[in-house]
Symmetry: C2
Subunit: 395 residues, 2 copies
């Protein structure tokens, strides 16, 4: 993150509150200087953390003034005390800023099942408010990291409707990443003018094309949260068709860039692989096969071993619960054809494919030759470091 | 395998045919001295290896005289040539033994997508037939191993109906193991008298209670095959109700013992964990949650790290696609309660659970407290060695 991130009308900050470990920033805040319209997308896991439940309760009001977020503790499976703690976090922030509690949202990420250390949170709120700064997003991005190896933020500015709008988006997430969102937090601040009702479908579209298309380990988090704020500081409204179109495109691009950076920073990941299934009878089938291949431990360890083992890819496709004719399937690694009509293309193709798989990014295509539908998923390899990171995470 | 394995009326053998690597047994055969009734259960993967397709074609005849099996090559995704090769393998054996091709079955396991080295197979058939021996099952068990660290065979003899019958079962499988069967081969020889039509439901029941309840990595193979032969040498028939009952019980026990040994020998596995979901509204829901927990990489790496991380267990349960109330869930590690009504039981329970998880075998119970249905799955931990084995498998 070598660039400065800022968006007109917003300030952000972070402090070290020792929520889990001392000496690293772990509590962050974003404040909009004026009321912002807000939309949210949350985990579909049956087990939802307290901050997710609280945000889902508050989002329908459509207005947000501030977001407080922490790493080190997920405030999940913490019972009624966890809900009280989530409410208290927003109240402490609201009191200090002179806002209404209901206009403050909260997000947490970290270990599940431990109580929030509320005394330390309380002591950190005043310094957090004092540290607010228009260019504080880089600090905020660091504060929400868990096993991420680098902070993730994107700022884009684009001309539209005779003016210019800005989007600053910050995200975290490196494990428990799965289609349908997984331990990932993403906060998108924009200076566009919009109602909450207009924002919601735009955010849903952007999430479906980005975070819902990535997987690291097939696990889905209890805490996934994506928030989109729009404070109108640019004076440009999405009611203008041109503004709306450019804004949606920019939002799609920003979330896709962040989604790619999440996979690239997947726990222990060395490679980003796009799995494409095409020639399917329908999109749901294509998607199911792509997901099964992208989450197969045998496929992912073969990527790690730089082994162009197309047999494992076909075997994974075959257990996706979708009927297809194996004898019609073609498989490509980038533009190298490895399988034609269900059988291998021989040693020459294997050698060429090995060159493809040695790259840090490549594409695997399965063509079922049975229809016109397609789907794709971004995944990463499954490495020794993934196991090391996750065997030791709490110790 | 310190015991001798044999079953009246059967002989078995193995030779080193250099199918993939020289100097290790990789081709085996079992012969019944008289025609045996046969039943089979095969992979449900859409991508089925040639030997599976051939066996499925022949099983309806109900009679088997010999089974030939190899490791080192799966003969899968090998196109029409693969089907010809599978047929040729059975013909070579049939010719040498003076049998009808259609009464010979075949099974293969190993790398997908490479042609069978038929010259080497052909050259090995004569020595294979010459090596046939009533106590050849231990050799056969070694010949079908791939990443298995030890051969797997069980022999049980039991009194029933005024006589005594014997079952000798040989299996392989250490990776690509998943509920609904995965790269596992299992050959069960019995001297019971039965028709193929009687054997089929008995085998289905035993497989559902054993191989379909285990998982190593969620991947399902293209080659899974379980065959049950009954040659009647004991003179006891399953038409006798007592014989049938004792035989079914013995078959269930033998396959469950082999299934456990497959998980225990799971690639890189150090622990065998039984995941039990109870208090569910229906069995399908219970099973779906148990499967999701048992296949979660985050749960399995926590087992490897000996971390009683119940948060990951709840998070995995929550993404199984089954509705439940998290605030009613209890979690136990053996008899240590870690979660009560959706919240953690505190540091004392964590410490006790850590003692449980340090054992080589233990049980994780999720009680949804919402009904009377239950399901269980046997799984193993996800270790550094799993990744090492599977990154390097073909090299």
């Amino acid at each position: 993150m070598d660039r400065t991130h800022s968006c007109p009308g917003y300030r952000a900050s972070a402090v070290a509150a020792a929520i889990r470990k001392a000496g690293r920033p772990d509590l962050g805040m974003i404040v909009s200087d004026r009321p912002a319209a807000v939309a949210g997308v949350f985990t579909t896991n049956q087990v939802k953390a307290a901050p997710v439940l609280l945000d889902m309760e508050r989002i329908p009001s459509g207005i947000c003034r501030a977001v407080v977020a922490n790493s080190g503790n997920a405030n999940c499976c913490t019972g009624p005390a966890g809900m009280r703690d989530a409410r208290t976090m927003t109240r402490l922030v609201a009191d200090d800023l002179g806002l209404d509690d209901n206009q403050v949202l909260v997000a947490s990420t970290g270990v599940i099942g431990e109580p929030m250390p509320m005394e330390r949170v309380q002591a950190a709120v005043r310094p957090l408010v004092r540290a607010l700064h228009p260019e504080g997003f880089a600090d905020f991005a660091r504060a929400i990291m868990t096993t991420d190896t680098e902070p993730k933020a994107v700022t884009r500015s684009a001309p539209a409707g005779g003016g210019r709008f800005t989007l600053t988006a910050v995200a975290k997430g490196a494990g428990m990443i799965c289609p349908n969102m997984a331990t990932m937090l993403c906060f998108v601040c924009s200076d566009i003018e919009a109602t909450a009702a207009m924002l919601a479908p735009m955010l849903r579209q952007a999430v479906d094309g980005s975070f819902n298309r990535i997987t690291v380990d097939g696990d889905m988090s209890t805490n996934d949260t994506v928030l989109l704020l729009a404070n109108g500081a640019s004076g440009l409204s999405v009611e203008d068709g041109n503004v709306r179109e450019v804004f949606q495109r920019t939002l799609d691009e920003v979330l896709l860039a962040l989604a790619r950076s999440l996979v690239r920073d997947g726990e222990g990941a060395n490679k980003v692989v796009e799995v494409v299934v095409r020639g399917a009878g329908d999109t749901v089938s294509a998607r199911r096969i792509a997901d099964t291949v992208a989450n197969s431990p045998l496929v992912k360890t073969a990527f790690f071993g730089e082994d162009a083992n197309w047999g494992r890819i076909l075997a994974a496709a075959g257990r996706a619960g979708v009927a297809f004719s194996p004898e019609r399937v073609d498989v490509f690694f980038d533009d190298v054809q490895m399988v034609k009509a269900g059988a291998g293309c021989g040693a020459g193709a294997e050698q060429e494919a090995t060159d493809v798989i040695r790259q840090p990014e490549f594409t695997v295509v399965l063509d079922l030759n049975a229809g016109r539908s397609a789907a794709s998923v971004l995944t990463c390899d499954f490495s020794l470091d993934y196991v090391r990171i996750n065997a030791d995470y709490r110790s």
